[in-house]
Structures are given as structure tokens and as C-alpha cells.
């Protein structure tokens, strides 16, 4: 009897169109939050929890039935809108769900009333856009979700008001709009050239021609601008550093990854088969420059949030190092990207939440005046140290596995230059993490008042950081999940 009911449960669980739930649920949640702010807090918590369950449901469906494809309204590929999920989409959805869960719990204690009423609907709209983006099967739909994501992200980053936040948000808006327009131009060219916007169909039809090169240039330029790849990172530090802590966490962990995901997806499906090693080399060079420049800037900062923001610039560089290393059927570099993206998302979200805690505690985020926070906020400082472990790439964290795989790919190809950049980037990361940790032990010269930090905020940051470290132990099942539907190509050489 029990077995029967559990198989029945399984059948029902497998039949639910989870991909549709993943988009409709946060959208409905956002509307409810907008209409009645009184219940917003519980609605958001319920939504992000259900969102995590839905990702698990979708992952199970993909494991049982292979790559997931859902024709919305029953129309199908050429005319209608399709939803698509393989291992890579699942990785991004999982990342969004985990970070979203922690950030939502954190935000219940972070925001006071008037700000909370604006934060909750915008955050759920951003979650909707992210989920829809990771499930999109055609490039025009990606454009629309990209804009939805950009607009809600800009509104979120302007939330705290004031000159810095508004200026940062404005700069961010200009960058994100320009990126989207460049991408849209590329989409227009690809549709004209090959008569479809569906990623799979386009992938089959695309042949090397001037129109593809123009589209490649426009799309790559637009998406690297949105991903804040050096030297197009100018908008990121002001926007991420002046936003409220939960918003910075979401922007740094998820939003920049979303545009990177699109670039990676289109690169794998469209451009890599055409043999564009030169562009891959260029992206790798810019990535290397980002690692060095971002790390140096992070070391120079005197404010914690700016340090963490520049660290994002550096860590994004690592993701781009994979492009020149992933030649032929070698998937090690892409597996490294999967590990790095997820571990960076968890660790960086934890770091920004930590920065929020310290800002709440001391009323400032000047690193030199941290004033013995290690004794007074041990959980928060532990969270920073654990997240820092993953950012530096110390074993056994998720960041270590990612960087190890990337290093392996570089050494196999004989790219000593890139391997050296990775090492130097890791050392400098250790430098800026220990700079913060060092000042956490010292006493500040000026006396300062301190405010209590709610336990929820401390634990949310700590759990994210612990997850980033534990990821190192879960790398094998994670890579098995990412490999579903073989988004990185068919021949597995991997770890």
C-alpha cells in the first residue's frame, strides 16, 4: 500500500509542468506582494521555498525523461514559445533557488517597513525573469527576459535612494540597456539570416557568413557588457556597492551570471562549431585582464562593499578563461565554469550579506575600522572566512574544485600563461580576504556605537558560505547533473 501511494506520488510529481510553475509562481507572488504588502513577507518565503521544490521537481523530470521541452499553449517551436531545460539550465536554476532562499530569509530581518514593501515585489519579479531566462528556448525570448531582469535589477539597486545609489543605478541602467540593444541587433541579424529564433534550429542552420560574424560581434559585445567583463566593468562596482546588501548579493551572484549563461549557451550552440578560436582567445585575454585588474582594485579598496564588488569583477574573469581552453571536445574547462559559477554565486552572496551585517553592526563598512568584530559577531566573520576560502580556491571548497579543473585544462593545453594568471589571482584573492579578516581582530582608534544584528541575518550568511564550501564535496553529483542533455558537447573527457 505504501509503495503504491509513493509511486502514485511520484507519477503526480513527474506530471507537473515544473518549468511553467517556475515562471508563474514567482510572478503571481510578486503581484500578491505588490497588492497587499501586509502579507508580503510570508508570501515571499512560501514562494522561494516552493521555487526550490519546483527546481527539484524539474531536475527529477530531466533525470527521468531526458532534456525537457515544453511548448507553451501547445503551439510548438517555429511559432510558439518553448521552454527548455537541460543540465546547464538546471545548474543556473538551482543556483538561483539556493541564493534566493538565503537572501529572502535574510531580507525578512534586513529591511524596515517602507523599503520592504518595495523590495519584495521587485525581488520576486527579478526571480521570475531569472527563471524565465534560464528556461528560454529561443533568442528573442532571451532578449525579453534579459530586459525584464535588467529593469527589475536596476530598480532594486536604486532602492536605498541617495546620490550614490541613484547614480549607480543610472549608470547600471545605461549599461544594461546598451547591452540589451546590442543583443537585440544580433538577434535581428540571426533571424534574418537563418529564419528562426529557436536555439536548436538555429544551431543546425548556422553556417559561417558575414551576417553570423556581425551577429557574433554584437551579441558578444552586448553580453560581455552586461556580464561586466573587463574593460566593460565600469558600471558594476558603483551599482553593486551602493545597493542594499541583499540586492548586492542577488546582483553579484545571479544577475551577472545570467548574461554569462546566455553567452555560454549561444557560444556552445552557434559560434564554437564555426571555429572562432580568435574570439575565444580574445575573451580569455580579457578574462585574464579582469582577474588581475579586479584583484588589484579589490586590494586597494578601503570599503568592504567595494572590495567585494571588485572581487566579483575578478571572479568573472575566471569564467572567461574557459573560452580559449575549451577547444575541441574537451569539456573540462566547461565543467570548471559550472563549478566556479555556482560556488562564486554562493560565496559572493554570503560575502555581501556579511557586508550588510557589518554595516548594520557598526554603521559603516570601512575595513580599517572593523573593531574586533571577530569577538562580537563571530558567526558573521566565520561566514566571511568560509566564503573567502571558496573565493581564494582553498580545498575543499567549491571554488577549489572549479579552479583546479580550470588549471588542469590550462596545463593540458600547455597554456602556462593562463595558469599563471589563475595562480596570481588566487594569491591576490587571499590577500584581500585576509586584509578584511586581519582588521576583524584589531581594535579601531575611534570609539563607535554598535547595533545588534539579528540572528537570522548572521545565519543566512553563514549557511550560504557553508554551502559554498560543501560544494567541493558534491562536485561529482553536481557535474553529473550539469552533464544531463550534454550541453557542453557529446564526448566526455571530463574529470
Amino acid at each position: 500500500m505504501r509503495v503504491e501511494s509513493s509511486t502514485l506520488m511520484a507519477a503526480i510529481f513527474l506530471d507537473v509542468p515544473w518549468a511553467v510553475v517556475l515562471i508563474l509562481l514567482p510572478l503571481a507572488g510578486a503581484l500578491v506582494c505588490f497588492i497587499s504588502p501586509a502579507v508580503a513577507k510570508s508570501v515571499v518565503l512560501l514562494t522561494v521555498f516552493a521555487n526550490t521544490v519546483s527546481v527539484a521537481g524539474l531536475a527529477w523530470q530531466v533525470m527521468e525523461n531526458g532534456v525537457y521541452r515544453h511548448a507553451v499553449g501547445g503551439w510548438g517551436a517555429p511559432l510558439g514559445i518553448d521552454l527548455y531545460a537541460d543540465g546547464l539550465s538546471l545548474l543556473m536554476l538551482l543556483m538561483t533557488a539556493l541564493v534566493g532562499l538565503a537572501v529572502s530569509v535574510y531580507s525578512t530581518a534586513y529591511f524596515d517597513q517602507p523599503q520592504a514593501a518595495r523590495f519584495w515585489p521587485l525581488w520576486l519579479l527579478l526571480l521570475t525573469a531569472l527563471n524565465a531566462l534560464f528556461l528560454a528556448a529561443d533568442i528573442f525570448n532571451i532578449y525579453v527576459t534579459l530586459e525584464l531582469m535588467g529593469l527589475s535589477a536596476v530598480a532594486l539597486s536604486a532602492l536605498s535612494g541617495g546620490k550614490d545609489a541613484l547614480g549607480g543605478a543610472m549608470r547600471y541602467l545605461l549599461a544594461t540597456l546598451l547591452g540589451s540593444l546590442l543583443f537585440l541587433f544580433g538577434v535581428a541579424l540571426l533571424y534574418h539570416g537563418f529564419g528562426s529564433v529557436d536555439i536548436i534550429i538555429l544551431g543546425q542552420r548556422i553556417v559561417a557568413s558575414p551576417i553570423v560574424w556581425a551577429a557574433l560581434a554584437l551579441i558578444t559585445a552586448g553580453l560581455t557588457l552586461k556580464t561586466a567583463l573587463f574593460p566593460l566593468h565600469f558600471w558594476l562596482p558603483p551599482a553593486h556597492a551602493s545597493a542594499p546588501a541583499p540586492v548586492s548579493a542577488v546582483l553579484s551572484a545571479l544577475v551577472v551570471k545570467a548574461s554569462f549563461y546566455i553567452l555560454l549557451r549561444l557560444w556552445l550552440e552557434f559560434f564554437a562549431p564555426l571555429g572562432v578560436e580568435d574570439i575565444g582567445t580574445l575573451l580569455g585575454l580579457l578574462g585574464a585582464a579582469a582577474v588581475l585588474w579586479g584583484s588589484v582594485q579589490a586590494l586597494r579598496q578601503s570599503r568592504l562593499k567595494l572590495l567585494v564588488a571588485y572581487s566579483t569583477v575578478a571572479q568573472i574573469g575566471y569564467l572567461f578563461l574557459a573560452f580559449p581552453l575549451a577547444v575541441g571536445s574537451n569539456v573540462t574547462a566547461w565543467n570548471a565554469v559550472a563549478c566556479l559559477a555556482l560556488s562564486h554565486a554562493l560565496a559572493k552572496a554570503a560575502m555581501f550579506l556579511v557586508a550588510g551585517n557589518l554595516l548594520r553592526f557598526g554603521g559603516h563598512d570601512r575595513i580599517a575600522d572593523l573593531d574586533r568584530v571577530v569577538q562580537r559577531l563571530p558567526l558573521t566573520v566565520a561566514a566571511f572566512a568560509l566564503a573567502g576560502m571558496s573565493i581564494m580556491g582553498l580545498p575543499p571548497s567549491g571554488g577549489f574544485v572549479g579552479k583546479w579543473l580550470l588549471l588542469e585544462a590550462a596545463l593540458i593545453q600547455g597554456r602556462w600563461d593562463l595558469a599563471a594568471v589563475m595562480m596570481i589571482g588566487g594569491l591576490m584573492a587571499a590577500g584581500y580576504v585576509f586584509k578584511v579578516l586581519g582588521f576583524a581582530f584589531t581594535q579601531a582608534n575611534i570609539p563607535q556605537k554598535s547595533k545588534a544584528v539579528p540572528a537570522t541575518m548572521e545565519w543566512a550568511a553563514l549557511l550560504l558560505a557553508v554551502a559554498a564550501v560543501l560544494l567541493g564535496f558534491l562536485a561529482v553529483p553536481l557535474l553529473a547533473l550539469v552533464g544531463m542533455g550534454m550541453p557542453f558537447g557529446s564526448s566526455e573527457v571530463g574529470p
Binding site: L79, F140, V144, E147, L151, V154, A155, A158, G161, G162, K163, D164, L166, G167, A169, M170, R171, L173, L174, L177, L178, S180, L181, L184, F185, V187, A188, Y191, H192, V197, P237, P238, Q297, Q301, L306
Partner: protein, 102 residues
């Protein structure tokens, strides 16, 4: 050179003009207008390229894209205008504040 090609060239021209203005102009309202001009350029390219060779019925899909694009452009412009207003009341001028630090 047929009409569709001419329109495409005009669209590309508008896009480049908008991009130039976006970079050169400091006033934020002008930057937002530049975005709208760039967008119109892309829409013109989409509509022009939808015309198939000869007198066949034009492809409706790019038209649908343009409509979606206009909706997106309107909402982006609305958000941008609100931000400009807030920034102007905060700083007194409709320009990007100088970056602190760096």
C-alpha cells in the same frame, strides 16, 4: 539597391547615430533619447528585412518582435525617466555624478 536595403541602411545609420549620441552627450535625457533612436534603428532593420524578395507577403514574425520591442522600450524609458527625476532632485542636475574613488 532596392527599398528594403535602403531602409536597412537607414536603420543601421540610426543605430550608429544613437550610439554616438549616447557616448557623447552628458545630459541624461539626451542619453535616453539616444537609446530610443538606437531602438528605432533596430526596429527599422527588423521591419525592412521582413520584406521577402519580390511581392510575397512580408514575414509577420519580425513585426511581432518589433511590437514586443516597443513595449520593452517604453517601460525602460519610463524607468529611466523616473530615475532621472529622482537623481535631479537629489543632485540638482540631470547628469551622472562623478564616480567617487577609483
Amino acid at each position: 539597391m532596392n527599398v528594403a536595403f535602403l531602409y536597412t541602411l537607414v536603420g543601421v545609420g540610426l543605430f550608429c547615430l544613437g550610439l554616438y549620441a549616447l557616448i557623447v552627450q552628458a545630459h541624461l535625457l539626451r542619453k535616453i533619447l539616444a537609446f530610443n533612436i538606437m531602438g528605432s534603428g533596430i526596429f527599422l532593420v527588423l521591419v525592412a528585412l521582413a520584406k521577402r524578395s519580390g511581392n510575397a507577403i512580408p514575414d509577420p514574425v519580425p513585426h511581432a518582435m518589433v511590437i514586443t520591442g516597443i513595449v520593452v522600450a517604453v517601460s525602460a524609458t519610463a524607468l529611466a525617466l523616473t530615475l532621472i527625476l529622482k537623481l535631479t532632485t537629489e543632485t540638482g542636475k540631470a547628469e551622472l555624478p562623478d564616480e567617487g574613488g577609483e
